[in-house]
């Protein structure tokens, strides 16, 4: 056998497993799963005391290539992914040029193969040039390998266009991922509208800008029967809409980011206008953070995704109004969730496996998210005792824009296996 992970605690909800076991891997696939796998592997790793999970997938990442290789490349982004415990990432189409054609999709996949670390799942544009007007060639892109469509960062405001996109996506059974933001209500804002924006004199983004659009998508998803996934959901009321739609049988799913789970808009004031607290959707209120944490545990939220958005220091070190939205997340997400949710007992390891692996795989139809014998050997191994200081200077990502610098965390990735190959270890 190519590789045997010895005596780790295997957590795999797809097989209802929570036992100390050996995992045997051969030919890039899970070959054996037993309390004791006989024989000797060409490589054996003792993972006693560690947790073996189906490979984590970050379904919301910006790899910036092609176009902004100064901030991130497919290679550096994949290196960051595996260092953060992710075996696969879905990359958003807002590159330069936009991934709205077969050619760009093919380019991304070939660069990912060369990088040879994490699996890359491209997301195609809904509309040409992300302009929200005419549909991109979704069928062509699907043939080239996209797993979903989204106009992330440039929300489709025209509801008729969105309706058509949902109808059309059903041909390919791929989800429409929507960044929900009513641009008129958001009104050029740079942080959450509320007491802190008032005090700081910053233009506020009304939370209704997100909530109205989530509501619209729920209605259109019901009507079209399309699979719709709400990206980086951030408010209590938006979550209520999703829960209601799900109950009514609508194929609506949603993701949240670690930063929306852990920070509020007070961070903008506390950091004295640090642009690493500027993201879209913006950091919200404590009541939103609390509602999201409850949704995480209850199952109302399907996925934790990072919205990894690298920006160079030069671009980010601007006036708060002028700095771009977004922060990096690949190398902090798993540790943050372990430290703040798993260790305190808010999340079980089974829920962790669903949020980071099984659910994103199911939504994007990737056939991952399981350690069943015969499946692709993408494996994430966690050390729940690992001590980690967040040091942006040591990131594998080309960018350092994180609000979590200096945080001391316990728990995080220890080993990342992609297609049976150890691509990263502590």
């Amino acid at each position: 056998m190519q590789l045997i992970l010895r005596q780790g605690r295997v957590i795999d909800p797809s097989q209802k497993l929570n036992n100390v076991m050996d995992v045997g891997i051969d030919d890039g696939k899970i070959a054996a799963l037993a309390p004791k796998v006989a024989g000797k592997g060409r490589k054996e790793i003792d993972v006693r005391g560690l947790v073996i999970l189906p490979g984590f997938i970050d379904m919301h990442v910006h790899l910036r290539e092609p176009g902004r290789e100064d901030a991130e490349t497919i290679e550096s982004g994949c290196a960051a992914a595996v260092a953060g415990g992710f075996t696969g990432v879905a990359c958003m189409p807002n590159t330069q040029p936009v991934n709205d054609s077969e050619a760009v999709t093919a380019f991304i996949l070939s660069r990912a193969r060369e990088a040879g670390k994490a699996a890359v799942y491209p997301v195609g544009a809904i509309t040409k040039g992300l302009e929200g007007k005419t549909l991109a060639e979704i069928g062509e892109m699907r043939r080239a390998g996209i797993v979903a469509v989204s106009d992330d960062g440039h929300p489709v405001c025209n509801s008729q266009v969105m309706r058509r996109a949902m109808e059309y996506s059903r041909i390919f059974d791929i989800p429409v991922i929507d960044h929900c933001e009513d641009r008129d209500l958001a009104a050029g804002g740079v942080m959450n509208e509320g007491g802190w924006a008032t005090r700081l004199g910053l233009r506020g983004m009304n939370p209704a800008a997100e909530e109205v659009q989530v509501e619209r998508d729920a209605v259109l998803a019901r009507q079209t029967g399309a699979r719709v996934h709400i990206a980086h959901l951030s408010t209590r009321h938006a979550l209520e809409t999703v829960v209601r739609a799900k109950k009514a049988g609508v194929a609506l799913t949603c993701e949240v980011t670690p930063h929306h789970l852990l920070l509020t808009d007070a961070a903008v004031a506390e950091s004295s206008y640090d642009t690493n607290t500027k993201m879209n959707p913006p950091l919200r209120l404590q009541e939103d953070v609390d509602a999201l944490a409850r949704g995480l545990a209850s199952g109302a939220i399907d996925v934790i995704a990072t919205d990894h958005a690298p920006h160079s220091v030069r671009d980010k070190m601007l006036e708060f109004d002028h700095a771009p939205f977004g922060i990096v997340g690949l190398e902090t997400a798993v540790s943050l969730v372990c430290d703040r949710f798993v260790r305190p007992g808010v999340l079980t390891l089974e829920r962790l496996a669903e949020l980071f692996s099984a659910n994103p795989s199911r939504i994007l139809n990737l056939g991952r998210g399981t350690l069943a014998v015969g499946s692709v050997a993408d494996v994430t191994v966690l050390d729940l005792e690992r001590k980690m200081d967040v040091k942006p200077g040591e990131f594998a990502s080309r960018s350092r824009n994180t609000p979590f610098a200096g945080w001391k965390l316990t728990g995080g990735p220890a080993l990342t296996v992609v297609r049976g190959k150890v691509v990263w270890s502590l």
């Binding site: 004199g201 004295s272 006036e319 708060f320 109004d321």
Partner: protein, 311 residues
């Protein structure tokens, strides 16, 4: 000995009651300089003050310049139109270039809230916020406080009504914090479209009804309203705005006896304030202007010992 507890003056928010009192006392002492035949003292001789203005401003800038000149500082004026900002240089590039000239104090006016804070983190010079976006305009609040204290003899226990475009005003934020911190009862009034969420957290009561705000007020401060706002659906027309929120002689008749009228300027005669009201005896708009120089001299004097400290 006296000192401010900060290297920079970024906002009233950071100032304690003692800090505010110290600045006002110092400003009061400095007002006498303007009455002399030689309106200049050598206090800041050899110190360099940079006036970094990214937004056009005649009043604030002239006021700062006069304050600096009266204290004998060397002045470097740097405005966005003559600078390399238009050539793609970032605020930090500009700041680092200025730092290389070792200024002691940088006075900055910028369209973006928090720009002075960014500078404060990066520069050894003391930063004075001369207005940042919709955030704060601390020296305006200090001169307003000085004006009211001089006329009324105190700040605590006064009712201060601030009326107009609250949402887009940095003056109202600084004034609200200053007056409420000094014990005044601050009321903020404007159409709900121009009253930002949770303004009460700054220490004011809010109302959309001008009569309620003006009732028993010792100080009535009008805020400038820009005509452009009517195109952004904040109110239907300047005419309707003036009828609902304009300070008229009619409204002044029901004001408390001895109430004073203030305005940070420049005024829109006939919109937020009737011409006759702006020129009446109870208007102290011109006192505000002369107190502006003294308040800014006080800030420069008190901060001048702090430059050169680590940011």
């Amino acid at each position: 000995m006296a000192s401010l507890s900060h290297k920079d003056l970024l906002g009233i928010e950071q100032l304690s009651v003692e800090d505010i009192q110290l600045i006002l006392d110092t400003a009061e002492a400095l007002r006498e300089v303007a009455a002399r035949p030689v309106k200049k003292v050598p206090t800041l001789r050899g110190k360099t003050v940079v006036n970094l203005f990214f937004e056009p401003s005649t009043r604030t800038r002239s006021s700062f310049e006069l304050a600096e000149k009266r204290l004998s500082a060397d002045i470097l004026n740097f405005s966005a139109s003559t600078s390399s900002v238009t050539k793609g240089e970032t605020l930090l590039d500009t700041a680092h270039n200025l730092e290389a000239m070792s200024p002691d104090i940088i006075v900055i006016r910028h369209q973006s809230a928090g720009a002075p804070h960014l500078l404060g983190r990066e520069c050894r010079a003391s930063i004075v916020n001369a207005g940042d976006g919709m955030h704060e305009h601390p020296t305006q609040a200090l001169l307003d406080g000085l004006t009211v204290r001089t006329i009324k003899g105190r700040l605590d226990g006064l009712k201060v009504a601030i009326i107009g475009d609250v949402a887009h005003s940095r003056v109202v934020r600084s004034d609200t914090i200053l007056f409420s911190r000094m014990g005044a009862d601050v009321w903020v009034c404007g159409p709900p479209t121009l009253l930002p969420w949770e303004f009460e957290k700054l220490g004011a009561r809010t109302t959309p009804h001008m009569e309620e705000a003006m009732d028993g007020a010792d100080v009535i401060m009008m805020l400038r309203v820009q005509h452009e706002r009517q195109n952004e659906a904040f109110f239907p027309s300047a005419r309707e705005y003036a009828s609902l929120y304009g300070l008229t002689r009619e409204r002044m008749r029901s004001a408390k006896k001895g109430a004073i009228v203030m305005h940070p300027g420049p005024i829109n005669r006939g919109v937020e304030i009737e011409s006759e009201v702006a020129d009446a005896d109870y208007s102290v708009i011109l006192n505000q202007v002369s107190n502006g120089v003294a308040a800014r001299m006080a800030v420069l004097y008190l901060l001048s010992g702090n430059s050169g400290l680590e940011p």
